[in-house]
């Protein structure tokens, strides 16, 4: 199984949202990391046939994303998950099953199984408008899995989930990634860190880094520092460099930051994490108030 994204481009007026992105994805879990406005959602929408690229092609095993056959094996959870407030979870999943061409009997079985899997079995006959944010998100995940998709596209899937639910979700996705392509986009670095086999970092419409976790972290190897500094120095360093962690200690202000060279005489080098990498690449967007790891 192979998803080929070939030089996909999408422009909105003066902004290039996706700029000649090319990817080849096989079975496994892929994390798409990027700040708000990086182009993740636009890329995912094009992959799901919801937007027409200005140029380039997307095909799964040679089947173009415009074909019904492609959508037949696609599961999608949008960032802003839509639903019918007066439908119950059961009705909603049965409706989604009919959209996906799943026969009624099979749909009933699958619906029951998924509702149990996402822990919504007890509230299956209650209206969706009574659900909490996390419950709605779980329902969204369930509908994406209805047709046992070969390509699962999840846009911010853990938004609204509490830590326990998030862990459960991660385990579910890890299991799913064994025999299908799972692409999930997120701001939550830990989600990607724990479950993604392969990470892609997207910035301003292009993939700036891609690879396994260890491979992409090499780009900031030797650039993550920790130090304890006086308050005035801390303010100065905060202005100059992306700060990952800051806390008050007895001796002064503890800082963990990303910097090309030693920021302070007593700074010590640390092993980089994915969060460090995110801050390193997206500190300008973050300082403009656009993104949070």
């Amino acid at each position: 199984m192979e998803l080929v994204i070939d030089r996909i481009t999408k422009q909105f007026k003066n902004k290039i949202a996706v700029d000649h992105v090319s990817l080849k994805l096989k079975e496994g879990v892929y994390g798409l990391l990027g700040a708000n406005g990086a182009g993740k959602t636009t890329l995912m929408r094009m992959m799901c046939g919801l937007m027409v690229p200005d140029s380039g092609t997307i095909a799964l095993d040679g089947i173009s994303m415009e074909e019904e056959q492609y959508r037949d094996v696609l599961g999608y959870l949008p960032q802003d998950f839509g639903y019918y407030p007066d439908f119950t979870a059961l009705e909603f999943l049965m409706y989604m099953a009919s959209l996906k061409g799943i026969p009624k009997i099979r749909a009933k079985e699958k619906t029951a199984m998924l509702l149990e899997q996402v822990n919504l079995k007890d509230v299956a006959k209650k209206k969706i408008k009574t659900y909490s944010g996390g419950m709605k998100q779980r329902l969204g995940i369930a509908q994406a899995l209805l047709n046992n998709p070969n390509l699962l596209v999840l846009d911010e899937p853990t938004a609204g989930l509490d830590p326990k639910e998030r862990v459960k979700f991660r385990n579910m996705i890890s299991e799913l990634g064994k025999d299908r392509i799972v692409l999930l986009s997120t701001h939550i670095v830990s989600d990607v860190e724990y479950i993604a086999d392969y990470i892609m970092v997207m910035k301003k419409g292009t993939i700036i880094h891609k690879g396994a976790r260890e491979d992409i972290l090499k780009s900031i190897d030797g650039k993550v520092w920790e130090c304890v500094v006086p308050e005035k120095t801390a303010l100065d360093l905060e202005r100059k460099f992306p700060v990952i962690n800051i806390r008050n200690e007895k001796e002064g202000i503890f800082l963990r930051l990303v910097c090309e060279h030693m920021p302070y005489e007593t700074a010590s080098i640390c092993t980089a994490s994915l969060e460090d990498l995110y801050l390193y690449y997206f500190s300008d967007e973050i300082s403009e108030g656009e993104g949070q790891p």
Binding site: R45, C48, G49, L50, M51, V52, E68, R71, D72, L74, Y76, P78, D80, F81, G82, Y83, Y84, P85, D86, F87, E91, Y95, M96, S98, L99, K100, G101, K104, Q143, N147
Partner: protein
């Protein structure tokens, strides 16, 4: 096929889940039932303002009188009979000063001829309720009743319409096909139904605009468009299901509503007079050779297709606009503005286009008007063109709506 039917079922389910739909349908059916009986509610009064009875009793009395004339041929003999009755009434009435007595005399002598008088009055004077003219009719006038009618019809279209030679020639052909002499039967029920069809169409169109505006627009506002369009059938069967639901819902509601209305009216007024010529609706204006039931059938067909035309517009707007509210606003304008607007008939092209708006297609005076559509000698009357045009418009607009939703990009 099974999947399509299942998807249609879900579209209906989504529709009927909305409480507002039930209120609208209840209001619509309530209005139609009220319309059938509205004219019969209340009392009748004499000159002094005293209650003399109810309107329903008045209708029953009129019906009884009219049924007494049922089956009579409107010919010189009947006209003479009516004339003699009125002569007798007028001569006796001159001797009576008491109003009550005069009224009783009227009821005993000429009231039963009122339906015939209404017909004669239109032909001989052009108005509905003249009486004195009957005294001056000569034998020639009585014998020439139908020639006079045809002359009046021709005079009307020559003086007040901007017809082409081809249209006039066609109207003369139709005129020749009118079956005479007319046979009178009480036909108030059919006429009442014909009168109500237009106002019912207005409410029906407004209701359908509200009910069907969310057919596509609702998916945008609920953000379901992304899930639908990324699903297997999202760009094919789902859209077909929506359009089929819109069409079948329209046909269903329209048919049931018009059917209930017809049944109600027939139960109240009776089904008499279905063979009456359409000319009884407006003697000097309509020249087509139909009877009431044929004309009602054509009119109802035009109404159904006009409503379907409106539904197709709703579907297209719903697919194009991002919110059902905008669809409702525009459709209300499309329905209501033409009711108050009038394009002068001398601007034939504009007037012809105007008369093809959905609401105009439901106007009886438009359906059976003198104007025709076509080029040179190849022309068809409005009652034929409207259904053909509406059908073509329905097909084209639905295809367009299909493409719009299919190509919708989730932004």
């Amino acid at each position: 096929m099974r999947e399509l039917l299942n998807l249609i079922k879900f579209e209906y389910y989504k529709m009927f889940k909305k409480k507002s739909l039930w209120f609208i349908l209840a209001g619509l059916f309530g209005l139609s039932m009220l319309g059938s009986v509205a004219m019969l509610l209340g009392n009748t009064y004499d000159m002094e303002g005293e209650v003399t009875g109810t309107r329903y009793e008045e209708m029953q009395a009129e019906r009884k009188n009219a049924r007494a004339l049922g089956g009579r041929t409107i010919d010189a003999a009947l006209i003479q009979e009516v004339q003699e009755a009125y002569r007798s009434y007028f001569s006796q009435a001159e001797e009576i000063s008491d109003e009550e007595e005069k009224e009783k005399l009227y009821e005993d002598t000429v009231k039963k001829y009122e339906p015939i008088m209404e017909i004669l009055s239109q032909v001989y004077t052009g108005s509905y309720n003249s009486q004195e003219f009957i005294l001056d009719l000569t034998e020639d006038d009585r014998n020439q009743f139908y020639e006079t009618l045809k002359q009046k019809q021709k005079q009307l279209w020559e003086e007040y319409f901007f017809l082409t030679k081809e249209e006039e020639s066609k109207l003369l052909d139709y005129q020749q096909q009118i079956k005479t002499p007319f046979i009178y039967n009480y036909g108030a029920g059919w006429m009442r139904y014909e009168i109500l069809l237009y106002s019912l169409s207005v409410f029906l169109m407004l209701a359908l605009a509200i009910c069907l505006a969310p057919v596509f627009g609702g998916e945008y506002t609920s953000k379901m468009d992304a899930l639908i369009l990324s699903s297997k059938y999202g760009k094919s069967k789902v859209i077909q299901a929506k359009l089929i639901m819109a069409v079948t819902f329209t046909i269903g509601v329209t048919t049931v509503l018009l059917g209930i209305q017809l049944l109600e009216i027939m139960l109240i007024y009776g089904a008499d007079g279905w063979k009456n010529p359409i000319q009884f609706w407006s003697l000097t204006q309509i020249v087509f050779p139909f009877n009431q039931i044929e004309a009602i059938g054509i009119y109802v067909l035009c109404v159904i297709l006009a409503v379907l035309f409106l539904t197709a517009i709703v579907s297209l707007l719903s697919a194009k606009l991002k919110s059902p509210f905008g669809v409702i606003v525009i459709c209300f304008m499309v329905i209501i503005i033409p009711m108050f607007l009038d394009i002068p008939e001398q601007y034939r092209m504009l007037n012809s286009i105007y008369r093809l708006l959905p609401i105009c297609m439901t106007q009886e005076w438009n359906v059976f008007c003198h104007y025709m559509y076509g080029i040179n000698n190849v022309i068809v009357p409005t009652y034929i063109f409207i259904p053909l045009f509406a059908l073509a418009a329905v097909v084209l607009l639905n295809i367009w709506a299909f493409k719009v939703f299919k190509k919708h990009q989730v932004a």
